[in-house]
């Protein structure tokens, strides 16, 4: 539908057009276009023109991820209760909303990622931007959690918490891709349980008391 010539589109719209057409292409053909050249031709622009906006397909995919993230955050912040949430609830809220946002793009994501993302270690390059934005966001949640004592401050370890939450995001995404339950209810349950576990681990626990005690014994010898 985007191929119908548009009169005098502004700069902003070109960007949008490319993103939409790319998604459209993936949806219709189940894979990304063969080359930038072919894709640009589809869009009735020259390859040279195309590079003004994006320089690779990865850059397009990256932008789509970022958009999904931005939309999630803006939806979240529109909820009044969000401000009153504890750190744990904020993160839960984030994942629930994020999955809702992803749901509208499920076919697109399935075509691109149902085969990939098998392992959580090798990260597709297009996720990098999303990851860094997410980590900023997660950092705020963690900071807040530490202030309210919801999250325990542990040397070295606590600097890696944002990484842990990111791994969880990937886990939830993977789980959701494979989820076949009606309304993705199982993903809801998976989010609930995994976030509770993560925050229980990050919170003050018997382990901290044990370490504290061990340290005391060692030092007072």
């Amino acid at each position: 539908m985007e191929t119908t010539a548009k009169k005098k589109t502004s700069k902003k719209d070109y960007r949008k057009l490319i993103l939409e057409s790319y998604q459209q292409h993936v949806l219709e053909f189940g894979k990304e276009p063969a080359s930038i050249f072919k894709f640009a031709k589809e869009l009735k622009m020259t390859e040279g023109e195309f590079y003004t906006w994006f320089t690779s397909f990865d850059a397009i995919k990256s932008e789509i991820w970022v958009q999904l993230f931005d939309e999630t955050v803006s939806q979240l912040e529109a909820q009044e209760v969000y401000k009153e949430y504890s750190a744990r609830e904020k993160f839960l809220g984030f994942l629930f909303t994020w999955i809702e946002v992803l749901k509208n793009n499920r076919s697109y994501l399935l075509s691109l990622y149902s085969e990939k993302l098998k392992s959580l270690t090798s990260l597709p390059t297009e996720l990098k931007e999303f990851r860094s934005k997410f980590k900023d966001y997660a950092g705020e949640i963690i900071l807040e959690g530490k202030e309210t004592q919801e999250i325990a401050n542990r040397p070295i370890l606590s600097d890696r918490y944002d990484e842990a939450l990111w791994v969880q995001v990937l886990f939830v995404f993977n789980y959701w891709l494979k989820d076949q339950s009606p309304g993705f209810e199982k993903t809801d349950a998976a989010i609930e349980k995994s976030v509770n576990l993560a925050f229980d681990l990050m919170g003050k626990s018997a382990l901290d008391s044990f370490l504290d005690f061990a340290k005391f014994l060692y030092q007072s010898k």
Binding site: F96, G183, E185, V195
Partner: protein
């Protein structure tokens, strides 16, 4: 009573603590189970019981990982016919309460999914955390236009996991409940059907309305109103029933008159359902009843409703006729009809099982044999438990090649067993009414 409670304290500390953990989430285990169990615990001659107990602990731990319907099944099996060692029964009755609460963001999400709005927008106030837990959901309190409401929200994925949970519980059930495979399959189908119904909140509303309306003429009963505009497949909104649970109420030392009034209301409620409506609130769990001002009994949670088929009804209840135990011919016919015995049985088996079932029926039918029955009589319950224990350890039952008893009996037995237990807990003496055709 005081003495018995003391006995309970002598259970090894760790067990009490563990049990307390479950109780703290609001569990009020049927008083009889606890009392009876405590008594047995201190009786050193009952080694087997303590063995069951530690088994139950372990099994409970693995089962509690399953949550939802698997626990429900275990719990239900444990109620059935009281054929199950008591230690398991306790664990499983408590199990119902142990699911972890839904987080508030998930509650919000569920609301948004069905109403496009968060709970704060729908109601004037809405409690952030659950005020009560149910086996497959949790209850929040809300207010709207000055009215207090109870909002029940189902855990996600429960409906979907019923069948797979049942498969998971199978090996446990086989090993634990002394049931043979045939018997188990026989029940599983019935259980699955009920459980799936229980996850259908729209059906629950429909039935709640139907039954409450049909029972509205019974004195001293109170039913909540249900609100369609705030209900969906996963959410039920109804009036908040203000009052006390049976255990709490009993602690206020109500008079015998009050106890009898509540007990009678309970009996009438079941009598009307079973004999006139032919469908019954099949979950007489203490948590589903609330005692209100002026000793009015509030009834909530119609998740589990069993429709009683006509021919089953006739057979089952003609057994409670007092003089029936003499008429051999008629009895044989009913036993065949209810699938207690079949042509596959040997003569020896027939005689044996008929004997056992006769004993069981005359015992369970005892309250029906007089105009009034005093459920405070613990001796009666001792007898039931004693018979249950005997049956569960009986070789003839274990090696029996077929399931005994109609599948419909599962829920009817459970209902009556639960009802008797509640009445015993209430220490009530009630007029045990019978339908005309049985008089």
């Amino acid at each position: 009573m005081a003495e018995k409670l003391k006995e309970q304290e002598s259970i090894p500390v760790s067990k009490v603590q563990r049990a307390a953990k479950f109780i703290s989430t609001g569990a009020k285990v049927g008083g009889n189970y606890v009392r009876h169990y405590a008594k047995k615990m201190v009786n050193p001659s009952l080694d087997k019981e303590s063995l069951h107990q530690s088994n139950a602990e372990d099994i409970y731990k693995s089962l509690s990982q399953l949550k939802g319907s698997a626990l429900k099944v275990a719990q239900m099996m444990s109620m059935d016919k009281n054929l199950l060692p008591r230690a398991y029964q306790d664990k499983f009755t408590m199990a119902q309460y142990s699911a972890p609460p839904l987080s508030y963001p998930l509650v919000v999400k569920t609301f948004q999914k069905y109403f496009g709005k968060g709970p704060e927008q729908l109601f004037n106030t809405f409690t952030r955390s659950a005020v009560n837990a149910a086996s497959i959901g949790q209850v929040h309190q809300a207010t709207l236009d000055g009215k207090k409401l109870a909002v029940k929200i189902q855990y996600p994925g429960v409906a979907d996991s019923v069948s797979s949970d049942l498969k998971l519980v199978r090996p446990f059930a086989l090993r634990l409940l002394n049931m043979n495979e045939k018997e188990l399959d026989h029940y599983m189908e019935e259980v699955e059907e009920r459980l799936l119904e229980e996850t259908d909140y729209l059906l629950e509303i429909e039935r709640s309305r139907e039954i409450s309306e049909a029972c509205s003429h019974i004195p001293n009963l109170n039913f909540p109103n249900y609100y369609d505009e705030f209900s969906s497949e996963r959410i039920i909104t109804m009036d908040w029933i203000q009052g006390q649970h049976i255990k709490e109420w009993l602690e206020t030392n109500p008079s015998q008159e009050s106890k009898n009034q509540v007990g009678q209301a309970l009996w009438d409620f079941y009598h009307h359902q079973v004999h006139n409506l032919k469908q019954v609130h099949a979950d007489p769990h203490p948590g589903n009843f609330i005692i209100q001002d002026k000793d009015v009994l509030g009834i909530i949670d119609f998740g589990c409703v069993k429709v009683i088929p006509e021919d089953f009804y006739k057979g089952y209840f003609s057994l409670i006729k007092k003089d029936l135990l003499i008429k051999e011919e008629e009895l044989n016919e009913i036993f065949y009809g209810l699938e207690f015995i079949s042509d596959q049985d040997t003569e020896e088996e027939k005689v044996y099982f008929k004997g056992v079932f006769k004993e069981m029926i005359s015992l369970l039918g005892k309250p029906f044999h007089a105009e009034r029955f005093d459920f405070a009589d613990d001796g009666f319950f001792e007898q039931i438990f004693e018979l249950g224990d005997r049956i569960s350890n009986d070789k003839m039952f274990k090696k029996s090649r077929q399931a005994r008893g109609s599948r419909h009996g599962l829920y009817i037995n459970r209902t009556y067993f639960g009802l008797y237990n509640l009445l015993n807990q209430l220490q009530a003496e009630v007029e045990t009414t019978k339908p005309d055709w049985l008089k």
